[in-house]
């Protein structure tokens, strides 16, 4: 398809079976203006994977007219193209010719990750300071005395200032924020410990004291920041991979003005009453009524119905459905903000459930831990005051208690395990968007699945191929290759080398089927009533079935096709694994009872509820939650989105609707449904390791605190104890990497191909 004047070639597009490519207006809308008439367009190209790809893409794009530069980013699998002028270069056609599937990337999500660069800078500064202070401290521990020791302490104090200001700032802000809201998190004891340690060390330095804890306070920050940065990097990688998926909602639409002119208008500016032209392969942008044209609509992502719906003039269409076969003219009846999609977003916001009530393990632990530690330090101070009456000594020992209990290991215990677990899942094609998601997933006891697009692929599959005369099947496949209707695609999959003459001319009748003329015969593939126009003659009885799709020769039916929505690969195995893991499995669907019971029977699901509205799904999940179940929702459609949000934790496939992918905690990129039990297994293992790590940290404190209270802690002992506990916690977390190696092979293979399999549904 060429990339100019979308309206002009709509009639031609029908015959084109390629998937829809964004129109030039849409590209322009999604690009960023760079001043002058330059624009930058960001494309996500999931299939880029080597130096050859970089070279091929950059060379080909740079040759296009108007393109100033093209640069591939291999890590994020993105291409950013700078171009100038009014005419949009044929970016998609070029990439398509090279064999790369590309999709537009929204420039607004492309904003630079400020948090990450702040974290990395903080790690660098803290690392520099910790290294230098540690060197000076080593000389103090090995016996530097008098003026030399004072000098070293002073230099350490100076180096520590930027580290505290820059790296510590992250913790101080977070702690202050938590306290302002009357909550307690892990950063509060860290901030208190670090700043008190610094203040006391400074006091000691001024008074020519022996013990200064500059090294402890800075290296503590350094260790904790490493954990925090790794955690952030992991989640960012997952989020980037999800953002790079193709966008399923329409960005805009061609509006037919009263004076006959055509104009491309962004979705937000579409008003009720406007007449819109929807080409085949485009999504309906807003709710409306069809004025003219016949076509089939794929509603699977909106309502969960698996079979395409034939529509004609007068039919009502919902925003988000995909126009499959013919161009349509429709009249908008609602603006985008009142359309079905927006309705889902509102339901979703109202359903804000499990996740906002959930408090992370680390926060729950620290709300118990911090008061105990601070009280212990205070009691130590009072005790030493009572025993020795030495004000200075009592304060020094109390602060040593705070430093030794400062939750270095505790602060690392949770993020390190989650980083290792998220990495493990990332390699298996499961993106974790939120650290707390894994904690929540480990607790679930009920899994609720959507049917269409989740348990099934949302793509029909021919089920009676073996019963059809191979010659007829080959003819049908040849004809079907000319259409993008899901049934046609299913039939075309059986095409191959056939001895039959190729159909001479093929014509698609949107909403009805395909007609071909070959060897003087008229072949029709499509609806029974249309293709078999000679009524009940011919072999209807012989070829059996009441299926709606038939192949006819000169009006007599010669073959009948039956379709079924194919279950996702490994769906049965995945459900079996879930049941073994003690999770009960339910299915909620917007589809008919008959379609649901078929799928439920094949997959062995006992409980299912058909014909549910989006709000019905939410109510169902809320009812389960009230009955004290922790619910996992797995779904892909727009209609599942509120339910995804209402559930305790949620998983969506990569083919899900945009807002569904945004709402879900996990997104799996590969076709296999085994990703769901895998995610649960890894999360549960991670949960166990987190508990072990917290236990280790508490045992460490049980030993260290008495020593500190008795006043035996020197800076050397503090440094050794803190590093040792951190190393033990990290080593324990690494066991997850080894423990999950015993997984099914399907998920293990194909690392490079992570996002390649993502296709338009």
């Amino acid at each position: 398809m060429s990339c100019c004047a979308p309206g002009a070639e709509m009639a031609l597009e029908v015959a084109n079976a390629a998937s829809a490519v964004p129109s030039s207006d849409e590209i322009k809308l999604a690009s960023r203006a760079l001043g002058g008439d330059s624009h930058q367009t960001d494309l996500s190209v999931p299939a880029v994977h080597c130096g050859g790809c970089i070279q091929a893409i950059e060379a080909a794009l740079a040759k296009l007219q108007n393109v100033e530069s093209a640069r591939v980013n291999l890590s994020t699998k993105r291409v950013s193209v700078r171009w100038h002028g009014d005419e949009v270069p044929a970016l998609f056609a070029t990439l398509d010719r090279l064999g790369y599937e590309a999709h537009l990337f929204d420039s607004e999500i492309q904003e630079k990750d400020k948090t990450l660069s702040e974290l990395i800078r903080a790690v660098a500064v803290a690392g520099f300071a910790a290294g230098n202070i540690m060197l000076l401290s080593v000389s103090v521990w090995s016996g530097a005395e008098g003026a030399t020791r004072d000098l070293f302490h002073w230099i350490s104090a100076l180096i520590a200032i930027p580290a505290l200001a820059f790296a510590g700032g992250i913790y101080f802000r977070s702690a202050a924020n938590a306290l302002r809201h009357g909550r307690m998190n892990m950063d509060v004891p860290i901030a208190v410990g670090v700043s008190l340690a610094y203040a006391m060390s400074l006091y000691e330095t001024i008074n020519h004291g022996e013990h200064a804890y500059f090294d402890a306070s800075v290296s503590l920050l350094f260790f904790l920041l490493i954990g925090r940065t790794l955690d952030h990097v992991m989640r960012e990688r997952a989020r980037t991979a999800v953002n790079g998926l193709s966008r399923l909602a329409a960005r805009g639409s061609v509006v037919l003005r009263d004076d006959g002119t055509r104009e491309y208008v962004p979705v937000a500016e579409l008003m009720p009453g406007m007449r819109l032209l929807i080409a085949a392969g485009e999504r309906i942008p807003v709710d409306g009524d069809i004025i003219s044209g016949n076509s089939d609509l794929d509603c699977s992502i909106v309502s969960g119905e698996s079979a395409p719906k034939a529509v004609g003039a007068g039919a009502r269409v919902q925003a988000g459905t995909l126009n499959l076969t013919g161009p349509l003219t429709m009249q908008a009846t609602a603006a985008a903000k009142d359309s079905f999609l927006a309705e889902m977003v509102r339901l979703m916001e109202a359903a804000e459930g499990g996740r906002s009530r959930y408090r992370r393990i680390a926060d729950r632990v620290s709300s118990l831990y911090a008061p105990v530690v601070h009280l212990a330090a205070f009691a130590t101070f009072l005790g030493w005051m009572a025993v020795s009456g030495d004000w200075h000594r009592a304060v020094t020992i109390a602060i040593a208690v705070l430093i030794i209990t400062c939750p270095c290991a505790l602060g690392l215990a949770v993020p390190i395990v989650q980083v290792v677990a998220a990495r493990r899942l990332f390699e298996a094609g499961v993106m974790v968007k939120d650290g707390s998601a894994m904690e929540r997933l480990a607790a679930i006891d009920t899994a609720v699945f959507d049917k269409t697009g989740t348990l099934t692929l949302g793509r029909p599959k021919l089920v009676n191929a073996s019963a059809i005369d191979p010659g007829m099947l080959a003819i049908a496949a040849d004809m079907a290759a000319h259409s993008r209707h899901p049934f046609s695609k299913a039939i075309a999959a059986y095409g191959g080398s056939s001895g039959q003459p190729k159909p001479l001319s093929v014509r698609e009748e949107p909403g009805f089927g395909i007609e071909a003329v070959a060897g003087g015969d008229i072949w029709r593939l499509g609806r029974r009533g249309w293709a078999g126009w000679k009524g009940r003659t011919g072999g209807e009885g012989k070829y059996g079935g009441y299926g709606g799709t038939v192949l006819s020769r000169n009006g007599s039916i010669v073959a009948c096709f039956a379709f079924e929505d194919a279950p996702r690969s490994d769906a049965m195995a995945a459900i079996q694994q879930l049941k073994t893991a003690g999770v009960s499995v339910d299915m909620l669907s917007g589809d008919t009872e008959k379609a649901c019971s078929e799928v439920a029977d094949t997959l062995g699901i006992e409980n299912f509820v058909p014909a549910l509205l989006p709000s019905g799904k939410v109510e169902w999940i809320e009812a389960l939650t009230r009955a004290d179940h922790k619910v996992l929702m797995v779904g892909d459609g727009l209609n599942d989105t509120p339910a995804l949000r209402a559930a305790h934790v949620s998983i969506a496939p990569a083919t899900a609707a945009d807002i569904g992918r945004k709402a879900a905690d996990f997104v799996f990129l590969r076709e296999s449904l085994l990703a769901v039990p895998l995610a649960i297994e890894v999360s549960r293992k991670a949960g166990r390791l987190i508990r072990q790590n917290i236990a280790i940290a508490i045992v460490y404190n049980a030993f260290a605190v008495p020593i500190a209270i008795l006043g035996h802690v020197t800076p050397l002992i503090a440094a050794i104890a803190m590093s040792a506990s951190s190393l033990i916690v990290i080593a324990n977390a690494m066991r997850l990497q080894a423990a999950v190696k015993t997984l099914p092979e399907v998920v293990q293979t194909r690392r490079r191909a992570d996002t390649v399999e993502v296709v338009h549904p």
């Binding site: 980013n73 890590s75 990395i120 520099f128 230098n132 060197l135 230099i155």
Partner: protein, 51 residues
């Protein structure tokens, strides 16, 4: 003691040099595409200087 007077500044200066080098590399975008940088070294440039 006298050796410390110049050794410590030298040590700190070298450390700071490394730190500022890292921060500069970060800011100039050298960490944005680590995989790409590894592959690009194998790409032969076209003949002649770039425009």
């Amino acid at each position: 003691m006298t050796t410390l007077i110049y050794l410590i500044p030298v040590a700190l200066f070298l450390g700071a040099l490394g730190l500022s080098g890292f921060l500069w590399a970060l800011r100039s975008g050298q960490y944005e595409d680590l995989d790409g940088a590894a592959e690009r070294i194998l790409i032969e440039p076209d003949d002649g200087p770039k425009k």
